[in-house]
Amino acid sequence: MAVAARKAGRAGAGAANKTTSTKGSTRGAALNSPQFDKNQDLTAYNDMLLIRRFEEKSGQMYGMGLIGGFCHLYIGQEAVVVGMQMATKEGDQVITGYRDHGHMLACGMDAKGVMAELTGRRGGLSKGKGGSMHMFSKEKHFYGGHGIVGAQVSLGTGIAFANHYRENGNVCLTYFGDGAANQGQVYESFNMAQLWKLPVVYVIENNRYAMGTAVSRASAQTDFSKRGVSFGIPGEQVDGMDIRAVYAAGQRAIEHARSGKGPYILEMQTYRYRGHSMSDPAKYRTKDEVTRMREEHDPIEQVRRRLLESWKLSEDELKAIDSRVREIVNEAAEFATHDPEPDPSELYTDILL
């Protein structure tokens, strides 16, 4: 691809993306991204592509009026959740805010169930009662899906508290954005997590805009890896567009938490290509900025290039992966379009146990 070729010559020259910068971090990350083997790159490619195609389809279906209300797309940020998920072990939990479709797919939740929830159908993961922001899976250890900015940080700390209480060796990955990072309960949670040495990794997905407000306009300290300094929580800035960097940082952070040393903060420097929500024309940034990020830092293109150049996969082999992913997404869309709405009797169920 032409884009990929250009990118090769300008790697790391992105506007504000510090790549694997260790600047300001309390613990240095490796300057050079660790290498992936072929299988890791294949997994990364497949899982990120699934999220990308799923989200593109969601955008289309929203435009067709099949999805109502909220729909916050994860396009551009795929490397963060996929890379972190590759660093977990069975039993580790995930909780996030409302830009959550990617997290659910990365946790292995069924694409049909996610899409049918977006369309508000009975086959949705929450039986059509939750919508885009609210899906859960105990089986996949995914705890939502929360609509109140920052609330998931206390909740995730509570899940880690439960791990600590049960001594089960699990770690809770608690995701939130640069916007949520300014909420008070985040720091209440940091304090308790460090005080009690809870096994939690705080993954701050800094996509540079809290809705329409650029980080520099909302945050006195824009280095989010330092947000735990006053509690003694170590943090790192990570190139969230490079899945290898994400994975390596994730391994360090998770190991730290799992070994009883307490919480760890990862600031993932990432970027969302789409608006905040479907109704956002994204007037607060230039088209140029978005184009530059897409062309020079796209997380999927990076892996695709490695698959072609380092692992010598053919275009046809990649196309085969692409078409398998499209098939999953199309099946999900088909199901979500034709699955019936919930039975009216569902109105009064699931309020209390």
């Binding site: 929450s126 609330a151 509570g158 899940i159 949670s189 304090n191 169920t349 309020i351 209390l352």
Partner: protein, 483 residues
């Protein structure tokens, strides 16, 4: 001029305490700031300091005396140059408490919980009598189907217990039964509870299960809900529900709604508990009654017990319940004693009101401390020939409409009593349900007796005006009876 040294109050709600120890003896010279004695209540310990200079002429209440009423003279201080023995003998006869001489009353179903909020004009003075501990066991007899103690088997031995002790026992019993139950909150562990409700739990269950939190209501409420999502059963104590305003997002948006939003997959078996509503002289930010607020929210159960027996049985049920429960206690009631059944595992079902007093002329519906007004009013009304039925809601949500409606169908008249504000209050909800279900049975419009529609004032007289009182309930009951 000899000076009486009075028994001090540790808090606005303290009525009595123990004179634990004298640190000065008769004849000792005393300077301002000297520690004279140590006093204790079930909540705290405090040193009594001298305010004036002089000689401790006479100790009126000896070491180790229990139940010394606030403002009782405990010693006499002779002024400079004053004859110590004259000062001691000229002092008026002290109201020396002698608890052992007081008859120990048998707990009485009709009279239980008659203690009142200490108000400006009822603070015990020279005529104050120490309150004796009720002692002898009481056994339930002649129980009828609608008896106040319907949940308790006939022949059950009753023991007298404060609401505070009942709540503590409920938590301890459930923690013994189930390892997934734990308590967290401010001062719940080492301090033994800001109101001593968690007294002894740390000693029995250890720091892993009795957890002191930083002062971060929003954060620790969220931590509790997150833990509950995984199946643990947290009891989150708020020092008062006023502070839970910081945490109300987690209570409502996370705890109450997630089960529904997840299509039934993820519930939060959690109890949020603590004192709710007005204590005494604590001002507007420490006296709000949130019963109506939480009762507005589907996905929550809201419990507000009055008696110690209900406090115990309902808290045990709440801890076992798979749903998020808001458990509203009352600071004034903590120290009040009621008969509690001596049973290994006594629970009270959530969602069932109880008829506390049977009557035929008018139904008075209340809950929590509102019951004190309701029951006293019923006694007053009896003298005037009006036979009031008093219903204790016990659970605000789900509300036991059936019990209210059945009673109103019998009496045709109803008065509601609560300390909360009138607009969109619990009384307003009761009125609506009566309208919807028993309109044709009403012989008069229902009247609400509520806290006044003002932030709670501090001044003693204004506070008294802001709260409901027995006279208002009597007047309302007479009005609906056209008397």
């Amino acid at each position: 001029m000899a000076i009486d040294i009075l028994m001090p109050a540790l808090s606005p709600t303290m009525e009595q305490g123990k004179l634990a120890k004298w640190l000065k003896k008769e004849g000792d010279q005393v300077k301002p700031g000297d520690v004279l004695a140590e006093i204790e209540t079930d909540k705290a310990t405090m040193e009594v300091e001298a305010i004036d200079e002089g000689v401790l002429a006479k100790i009126l209440v000896s070491d180790g005396t229990d139940n010394v009423a606030v403002n009782t003279p405990i010693a006499i201080l002779a002024g400079e140059g004053e004859d110590v023995s004259a000062a001691a003998s000229s002092a008026k006869a002290p109201a020396a408490p002698a608890p052992e001489a007081q008859p120990a009353p048998t707990p009485d179903m009709e009279r239980e919980g008659m203690a009142d909020r200490p108000s400006a004009d009822s603070i015990p003075g020279t005529d104050a009598k120490p309150v004796a501990e009720p002692a002898s066991p009481y056994v339930i007899q002649n129980r009828t189907a609608h008896d106040a103690m319907a949940e308790i088997p006939e022949g059950t031995e009753m023991v007298s217990m404060t609401v505070r002790e009942a709540l503590r026992d409920a938590m301890a019993e459930e923690m013994r039964k189930d390892d997934s139950v734990f308590v967290m909150g401010e001062e719940v562990a080492e301090y033994q509870g800001a109101y001593k409700v968690t007294q002894g739990l740390l000693q029995e269950f250890g720091a892993k299960r009795v957890i002191d939190t930083p002062i971060t209501e929003h954060g620790f409420a969220g931590v509790g809900v997150g833990a509950a999502f995984t199946g643990l059963r947290p009891i989150v104590e708020f020092m008062t529900f006023n502070f839970a305003m910081q945490a109300i997002d987690q209570i409502i948006n996370s705890a109450a709604k997630t089960l529904y939003m997840s299509g039934g997959q993820l519930g939060a078996p959690i109890v949020f508990r603590g004192p709710n509503g007005a204590a005494a002289r604590v001002g507007a930010q420490h006296s709000h009654d949130y019963a109506a607020w939480y009762s507005n929210v589907p996905g929550l159960k809201v419990v507000a017990p009055y008696t110690a027996s209900d406090a115990k049985g309902l808290l045990k049920s709440a801890i076992r319940d798979p749903n998020p429960i808001v458990f509203l206690e009352n600071e004034i009631l903590y120290g009040q004693s009621f008969p509690v059944p001596k049973l290994d595992d006594f629970t009270v079902p959530i969602g069932k009101a109880r008829i506390h007093r049977q009557g035929k002329d008018v139904t008075i519906v209340s809950f929590s401390i509102g019951m004190t007004y309701a029951l006293k009013a019923a006694q007053e009304l009896e003298k005037e020939g009006i036979d009031a039925e008093v219903i204790d809601l016990r659970t605000i949500r789900p509300m036991d409409t059936d019990t209210i409606v059945a009673s109103v169908m019998k009496t045709g008249r109803c008065v509601t009593v609560e300390e909360g504000f009138p607009q969109s209050g619990v009384g307003a909800e009761i009125v609506t349900r009566i309208m919807e279900n028993a309109f044709d049975y009403l012989d008069a419009p229902v009247i609400r007796v509520t806290g006044k529609d003002v932030p709670m004032p501090y001044a003693a007289n204004l506070e008294k005006l802001a709260l409901p009182n027995v006279a208002e309930v009597v007047q309302a009951a007479k009005a609906v009876c056209y008397r």
